[in-house]
Symmetry: C2
Subunit: 300 residues, 2 copies
Amino acid sequence: MSPCEYFIGIDGGGTQCRAQLEDSDGYVLGTATSGPANIVSNKVQATQSILMAVNGAVESSGLSIALNELHVAAGLAGANVAAAKTTFDAQHWPFRTFATLSDLHAACLGAHKGEDGILVICGTGSAATCYREAGFSDKGGYGLTLGDNGSGAWLGVEAVRHTLLCIDALTSHSLLSRNIMTHFGVVDGVDMIEKTMHFCASDFGKLSPLVFAAFNEGCEAAASIIHLGAGYLSQLIRSMSQDRPLPVALVGGLAESYQPLLGKDISKQLCVPAHNAQKGAIHYLKETLLKRNAEPPLKT
Amino acid sequence: MSPCEYFIGIDGGGTQCRAQLEDSDGYVLGTATSGPANIVSNKVQATQSILMAVNGAVESSGLSIALNELHVAAGLAGANVAAAKTTFDAQHWPFRTFATLSDLHAACLGAHKGEDGILVICGTGSAATCYREAGFSDKGGYGLTLGDNGSGAWLGVEAVRHTLLCIDALTSHSLLSRNIMTHFGVVDGVDMIEKTMHFCASDFGKLSPLVFAAFNEGCEAAASIIHLGAGYLSQLIRSMSQDRPLPVALVGGLAESYQPLLGKDISKQLCVPAHNAQKGAIHYLKETLLKRNAEPPLKT
């Protein structure tokens, strides 16, 4: 690789897209953020977000680099769905190289500098991957209706479900249920449904601080929800560590809150992520490029 | 009321709309069914379904009755949401009288012939109401994301969630998880999500026979889901029976399956519904008409 090559790593999720421009030695030259980049839920928007983030990162570097000089790798939400990834990759991209991978894989490669390791993400959604012997195995990440246990969106849904059971007098009111009712300014269940009927995962995710706040004030209802979530995350890690415990990076908006609540057997595996997912995506691209260069010449 | 008056009662839910034409003595003269009538999710479709069901019921009677001769009462899904009901009622209707009420209330009035009683519905969704001292109090019915515990849609979601946990090796495979995987022809979690990503409540509801089938073959995973559902329905009934146990009609597609699984304390309250929701809607309309006739003249 010549020293004047430029790499952009992208971490694209359901909420936003972060891009990082680096030279071939890994020095960060510029960064930018743009909109959501989930290639399953909105391919067009994801494309726009990527182009905007790349242009932004180049602009912030103050360098004049043409798009066709760039090697771009994007870790994207939804790229684990094979059909979505194939369609997305097949688009015409203005870059010298363009590669996509799952946002989870990019984060894992970044966190463990491309070494074997486990990554558990817990933000609006939840999912985990284990990188071992140059291959990934994923668990979870099935979305709010069918999975994403422990995630912010899941906490929000569980909190509202609990509140509705309290309103119906099927269980006793708690600090959590009272705080949720105050938050929405509602007095009954129909009110609550009217307020939340068009909620998406990120709207429910915004309720998760209310659950942790009630938990910290000793609310048993909040504790039982949060311990259920922590139990799921612990299970994820254990099931990925059966043969050989690997270092585990817990990332995402709720990582810090959950960390002390995971199983004691897990705590010695936990590690601080070395790098972000943008650098993980670049790592992937460099590995791919190096491999390709060792074989036929790079397709440009 | 003159003997030549005609009444149509409608039971409109998320799946279909059933209409029943009666004379003022309650003799059934004609019936018809049409499409869905949920006034929250699709007001235009609900309007069309009602008009089609009314026309169908008149046609099936072989009588020539003009629309403006008809007193129509519709028990409709979503009519418990005040804002939706107000907008819906404010439309121009071609009938002599038009009144809406919640489909749950219509079913309750039908089941108990307008007397005090409890109605629990468990089909694609779940909900309950108690009619006492001329007033209703409702519980549940909050939709698949936030409620509808025990319902067919809920059973389907729980079955798929369980299957995904099995696929991820976070819990052991069961007859249920294997049957669900065979049903969808999937081998992994991403496959499963691709198959179910656009599922609505009624799609999930169609999986409920698989859950009951596995339960009947002794599957513990299916049993634990179904007992959770039965526990919720039992709780609903108990919380409505605190002051005075009233007769309970359990209706909907899963009523028969759940009946033997409810708490033993509840079994003596259970009764067979006297009439359907269509007749319940007509009962409501006659009561309303009689009340109005006793006061100012009927607005037509």
